[in-house]
C-alpha cells in the first residue's frame, strides 16, 4: 500500500483525534489521589460531624454559635440553642444572622494573610519572616522606647475589647506605660451616656420587646445591625406572633425608611435630628392629659407638670419635627394606653450634634408609662459576675481620634513612635476630612495583627496575622446582655490553617521577652491560661448554668454549653426619673441635601465587605448587591433629571466628593440622600477591593455636643448629575411581574 500524501494526512488526523478522545477516558490524577493529612485530628471520624459551641465575632453583639466540623474542617455555623443571647426561649431554637453564617468564609478566605511579614518602607515590598524574627523586632523596638523613657509614645488600637482579652490589653498597656484606644466606627458613646444619665447604668440595658404591647423606635435599626439584632429579631417575632390573639404594635420614627421601618405598622417621618423634640412633645401630651404615672410625671417635669413642657405643644413644634400635631397626639395616646409600652432610640437619632438630647428625651419616656425595669420594658443588666472584667475596654469618643490625628501630624505634645492595630480599621472608617491616614504616615513603626490586608494593615511595617475567631480561644461578655449574668466562651474549632498566632498569646510572649515589671504583671504562659484562671472564679461561685465538683469538669462544661450564665442574677436597679432635657436643635453645615449614611445589613460599617456571601446579600430595601448606591426621593430625582443608575456626584460640605449611582425611591423623603456604609475598600482582599465608594469619606468630622462622639448623620452635601450611568445590580425588577404567573397584578388607580 503506497502512502500517498492524502492517506498520510488522514491517518495523522484520525490518530490525533483518537488520542484526544481516548485520552479523555483516563481517570484524572485527582481521582486516584488519597491524601494523608500531616496532623492527626483527634476528632477525625469520616462522615461523622462534631458540633462545637463557641461565640460569634462577626459583630460586637456576641451571639452563641454552634460550628459543625467534619474531618477537621468547619462547615457550617448555626445558633447555639442554649445561649441566652440569641436563643428563642419559647421555641427552644436559636438563630444567627447572615454575618454570623458567613464566618466560615472568613476562615477560608483566599486572601487571608498567611504568615508574619515585614514591609520595606522604601519599596513597599512585603517580605515573609518568621514569628521569632517578627517578635524580636517588636520587642526590640518596645524595649528601646521604654529605655528611652518614651513608653507613652506607644499606642495600642483595638476594637472595644471585652472579657479577658480586654483585661490582658489593660494589664499590658498599664505595665508598659503606653496608651490603649478602642476604635468603633459607628460608636455607641451617645447611647451609653444617655443610659447612664437616664437610668444610672454603666451597662446597656436589655429591651424586652417580646413582652411589650407597643414599641416606638426612634432611628434604631434593631432588625438590621443595631446592638444585638439577632436577639431583637427573635424578640420581635414574639412581639408580633408569639402571643395568642395579641399582636404588639410597632412604630418606627426616622428620616429614612429602613428595613426596620418597613416592618413597622406605622412609619413616621421626622426631620433629621428632631427625634428628641418629638419625644418631648409626646411627653407634653401624656403629662398634660394626666395619662402618665403621677410620680414619674412629677419628677420628669421638676414638679411643674405640663407647664415644664409647655414649649413642646404638638401644634407649636410639629412643623419643626416634620409631622402633624395629630400624629404626635396619636403616638402619645397610643404609647400611654397600650402598656407595657417601650420607647427606644439609637442609630441616626444618636448621631447628630444633639444626639444625647435626643436619646435622653426618648428613653425618659419609658418612665411615664412605668416601663423601666418592668416586663415588656427596659430591663437592666447586672455587673459582670467577676469584678473588674471589662465590657468595653478602651472605648474612646471621636474627639480623641481628632486629638490623636493632630498629635500624629504635628508630633506635639508627644510624638507617637509605635502603633499596634488589632481588629480596628480606622484608615477606612474615619472621615477623610480628618486626615488620619496621612497623619499615620508620620509614625515610624506600625504593627498590625489583622487577619486580612485591610487599609490599616496595608500601611503597617510589621504584619503579625492573628487567628480568626474559629481558630482561637476567647471569652465575651455580651453587651447589651440578656438581663442577667453571662460569660460566653470561644474555643478553637479547627486547627489554624495558616501560620497565624493568637493576639492574646502574642501579648503575653512580648511581655515575657520584655521582662521586668511587664513580665511580672503578666505571669501566664498562654491566653488559654488567662481564660482558665478567669473561669476558675466562675467555678468558685458554684452557681449558674454550670456547676461541677472539680474545675476540669466545670471547664469542659462551659466549653460544651458555650458559656456560663445565671438567670437568677438579674439587674434589679430601680432608678428614679430625672428632669426631661431642654430642647436642643441639631447643627448642620451648609448644603442642599442631608446625607444619611446607614450601616449595611450585611457589611455593617465595612468589616463584612471581604466576604462574598455578604457582598451578595441583597439590601432589604433596594435588593442591591456588591456596590454603593445613593437613595434619593422621586421629587429630587426629577429635579436633578436623574433616573436609576445615573451617577450622582455627591460633594460634602468639607469638599470631599464621590460618585454613586442614584436609586430613586418612592419612600425616600425629599432633601435626603441615604447611602450605605461598608464599601469602597482600597485593600481588603479580592472581593472588597475597588468596589463601590466609602461613604465615611464624605462625613464632616462633627461631634455630638456633650459626649464628643462622631455625629455621623450631621453632614450635608450637594449633588450633581454627572451624566454617566450604569445599571445597579439588584434583584428587584430582574423578573418582570407579569412573568411571575403566581402573582396577581393589582392596579391601583386614583380616586
Amino acid at each position: 500500500m503506497g502512502v500517498t500524501r492524502r492517506r498520510f494526512l488522514t491517518m495523522a488526523g484520525v490518530s490525533a483525534m483518537g488520542a484526544v478522545i481516548f485520552g479523555g477516558c483516563r481517570v484524572p490524577d485527582r481521582e486516584v489521589l488519597i491524601q494523608s493529612p500531616a496532623r492527626l485530628p483527634e476528632d477525625l471520624v469520616t462522615g461523622i460531624d462534631n458540633w462545637y459551641a463557641s461565640t460569634c465575632h462577626q459583630c460586637p453583639a456576641g451571639c452563641g454559635i454552634l460550628v459543625r466540623v467534619m474531618e477537621g474542617r468547619a462547615k457550617k455555623i448555626e445558633g447555639n440553642p442554649d445561649h441566652p443571647l440569641n436563643h428563642d426561649p419559647v421555641l427552644h431554637m436559636s438563630k444567627t444572622c447572615a454575618r454570623g453564617q458567613a464566618g466560615v468564609q472568613l476562615l477560608y478566605h483566599p486572601d487571608r494573610i498567611q504568615g508574619p511579614m515585614r514591609r520595606d518602607r522604601a519599596t513597599g515590598e512585603l517580605l515573609p519572616i518568621s514569628w521569632e524574627e517578627a517578635r524580636a523586632e517588636l520587642v526590640g523596638r518596645l524595649r528601646e522606647l521604654r529605655d528611652r523613657g518614651a513608653s507613652d509614645t506607644v499606642l495600642v488600637v483595638t476594637e472595644p475589647l471585652r472579657g479577658h482579652l480586654g483585661l490582658l490589653a489593660r494589664e499590658f498597656v498599664k505595665a508598659y506605660g503606653g496608651q490603649h484606644m478602642a476604635f468603633e466606627a459607628l460608636e455607641e458613646t451617645v447611647l451609653r451616656e444617655a443610659v447612664k444619665r437616664v437610668f444610672d447604668q454603666d451597662r446597656l440595658p436589655d429591651l424586652d420587646l417580646a413582652n411589650a404591647e407597643y414599641v416606638i423606635s426612634f432611628g434604631s435599626g434593631f432588625l438590621e445591625t443595631w446592638l444585638s439584632p439577632v436577639r431583637y429579631g427573635v424578640a420581635y417575632g414574639h412581639l408580633r406572633q408569639g402571643r395568642e390573639a395579641k399582636r404588639g404594635y410597632f412604630v418606627q420614627v426616622e428620616p429614612r425608611l429602613s428595613a426596620t421601618g418597613a416592618n413597622a405598622d406605622d412609619w413616621v417621618y421626622v426631620k433629621p435630628g428632631m427625634e428628641g423634640l418629638l419625644a418631648l412633645s409626646m411627653a407634653y401630651v401624656i403629662v398634660s392629659q394626666g395619662l402618665g404615672d403621677q410620680e414619674a410625671s412629677r419628677l420628669l417635669t421638676r414638679g411643674q407638670g405640663a407647664q415644664y413642657l409647655a414649649a413642646y405643644r404638638p401644634q407649636d413644634v410639629a412643623g419643626a419635627i416634620g409631622t402633624t400635631p395629630e400624629k404626635i397626639e396619636e403616638l402619645a395616646l397610643d404609647f400611654a394606653a397600650k402598656r407595657p409600652s417601650l420607647a427606644i432610640g439609637g442609630g441616626s437619632a444618636a448621631a447628630h450634634t444633639n444626639g444625647l438630647f435626643n436619646l435622653t428625651a426618648i428613653y425618659s419616656l419609658n418612665y411615664l408609662v412605668g416601663s423601666v425595669g418592668q416586663r415588656g420594658g427596659i430591663l437592666f443588666n447586672p455587673a459582670p459576675p467577676v469584678a473588674g472584667l471589662p465590657v468595653a475596654e478602651g472605648r474612646v469618643p471621636f474627639d480623641r481620634w481628632q486629638e490623636l490625628t493632630g498629635r500624629l501630624a504635628s508630633g506635639k505634645p508627644r510624638p507617637v513612635n509605635l502603633v499596634v492595630f488589632r481588629g480596628a480599621n480606622p484608615v477606612h472608617s474615619l472621615p477623610q476630612a480628618l486626615g488620619f491616614a496621612d497623619a499615620l504616615k508620620n509614625v515610624p513603626f506600625i504593627v498590625s495583627f489583622s487577619t486580612m490586608m485591610d487599609e490599616t494593615a496595608a500601611m503597617a511595617d510589621l504584619i503579625l496575622p492573628e487567628h480568626t475567631y474559629l481558630e482561637d480561644w476567647g471569652d465575651d461578655l455580651p453587651e447589651p446582655g440578656p438581663g442577667y449574668e453571662v460569660v460566653s466562651y470561644q474555643q478553637p474549632v479547627v486547627r489554624p490553617f495558616h501560620n497565624t498566632h493568637s493576639f492574646g498569646d502574642e501579648l503575653i510572649m512580648v511581655a515575657k521577652e520584655l521582662g521586668g515589671s511587664l513580665a511580672q504583671a503578666m505571669p501566664w504562659n498562654s491566653f488559654k491560661e488567662v481564660l482558665q484562671a478567669g473561669a476558675r472564679k466562675l467555678f468558685e461561685l458554684n452557681r449558674g448554668s454550670v456547676t461541677a465538683p472539680d474545675f476540669d469538669s466545670f471547664w469542659r462544661g462551659v466549653l460544651q454549653r458555650g458559656g456560663w450564665w445565671d438567670t437568677a442574677r438579674r439587674g434589679l436597679a430601680r432608678p428614679l426619673p430625672k428632669p426631661l432635657p431642654v430642647r436642643e436643635d441639631p447643627q448642620f453645615t451648609a448644603g442642599e441635601y442631608h446625607l444619611l449614611p446607614f450601616a449595611s445589613i450585611s457589611l455593617t460599617e465595612g468589616r463584612g465587605a471581604a466576604l462574598p456571601w455578604l457582598q451578595a446579600t441583597p439590601d432589604p430595601m433596594t435588593t442591591a448587591v456588591w456596590q454603593t448606591w445613593a437613595e434619593i426621593s422621586l421629587e429630587d430625582a426629577r429635579k436633578l433629571g436623574v433616573s436609576e443608575g445615573d451617577f450622582l456626584e455627591i460633594t460634602s460640605s468639607n469638599g470631599t466628593s464621590l460618585e454613586a449611582p442614584a436609586y430613586p425611591n418612592p419612600a425616600a423623603p425629599p432633601g435626603i440622600i441615604a447611602m450605605p456604609l461598608g464599601q469602597g475598600h482600597s485593600s481588603l482582599g479580592r472581593y472588597a477591593e475597588n468596589r463601590g465608594v466609602n461613604t465615611f469619606m464624605l462625613l464632616q468630622p462633627a461631634t455630638e455636643k456633650e459626649t464628643k462622639a462622631l455625629a455621623w448623620a450631621a453632614t450635608r452635601v450637594t449633588v450633581r448629575n454627572t451624566g454617566r450611568r450604569s445599571r445597579i445590580s439588584k434583584f428587584e425588577g430582574s423578573v418582570r411581574v407579569e412573568a411571575l404567573h403566581e402573582v396577581e397584578i393589582v392596579r391601583v388607580t386614583k380616586g
Binding site: 488520542a19 481517570v27 489521589l33 494523608s36 493529612p37 469520616t46 462522615g47
Partner: protein
C-alpha cells in the same frame, strides 16, 4: 486503519497495547489480571512487608476507621510519627524514607498517596458491614484474614497491588456465595 488505532491509542491504564485488546481480553476471555494497574509508585516507599509482615501491626492500627466507617482511611502523617519519632529505620534506604516522613511532618505537608483500589463513582462500598460480617463468620480469625479476602496477602507486598478485579461480577459472585443481598440498590444508591 483499525490496526493503526489499536496500536496507538493509549488505554485507561499505561499497560501494553491499546484499548481494544483489553476490551477483548475482558469480555471474551475474562482475563482480569491484565486489567489491573501494576502496583503504582508511591511518594514514600512504605513497606507492608515490614509493618504488617515482620512487625505484625494490626491493619486497623493504621487504617483506623476500617471497622467503623465507609472508608478504611490512610493514616495521618502524625500517626506514623508516633513510632517514627523514635524509630529511624535500618539501612540507608529506610533511613532516607523515614526522613522524608519526618520532613513532611515538620513542614506540615500532607502526603499524596496514589490510590490502589478504586471503585467507580456509581458504586457505594462500605467497609464496616463487610468486616463485621466476616468477623461474625469466624470470631477467632484475625482482622488481616478478613482484609485479605479482597486485598490479598498485603503483608507480602512491598508495593501494594490490586489482586481482584473488584468489578461488578466479582462483587456479585461473592455476595451470592455468602447469601448477601444482590439487589441493585445494595451498592448503587
Amino acid at each position: 486503519m483499525l490496526v493503526f488505532l489499536w496500536l496507538v491509542v493509549p488505554g485507561p491504564w499505561p499497560i501494553t497495547g491499546g484499548l481494544a485488546p483489553r476490551v477483548f481480553a475482558h469480555y471474551f476471555w475474562g482475563v482480569e489480571s491484565t486489567l489491573y494497574r501494576p502496583a503504582p509508585d508511591q511518594p514514600l516507599a512504605f513497606s507492608h512487608v515490614t509493618h504488617a509482615g515482620a512487625l505484625e501491626i494490626n491493619c486497623a492500627f493504621c487504617h483506623r476507621t476500617v471497622e467503623k466507617e465507609e472508608t478504611a482511611s490512610v493514616p495521618a502523617v502524625e500517626q506514623c510519627i508516633f513510632c517514627h519519632k523514635i524509630i529511624s529505620g535500618t539501612g540507608d534506604a529506610a533511613v532516607a524514607e523515614v526522613q522524608k516522613l519526618r520532613d513532611a511532618f515538620q513542614e506540615e505537608k500532607p502526603l499524596n498517596w496514589v490510590r490502589v483500589h478504586r471503585l467507580p463513582d456509581h458504586v457505594q462500598f462500605v467497609h464496616e458491614p463487610h468486616i463485621r460480617f466476616f468477623a461474625q463468620q469466624d470470631p477467632a480469625a484475625p482482622l488481616e484474614a478478613t482484609c485479605a479476602t479482597c486485598h490479598g496477602d498485603v503483608k507480602t507486598m512491598t508495593k501494594v497491588k490490586q489482586v481482584r478485579s473488584l468489578k461488578m461480577g466479582d462483587c456479585v459472585n461473592c455476595h451470592k456465595d455468602y447469601n448477601a443481598p444482590t439487589d441493585c440498590a445494595a451498592c448503587h444508591y
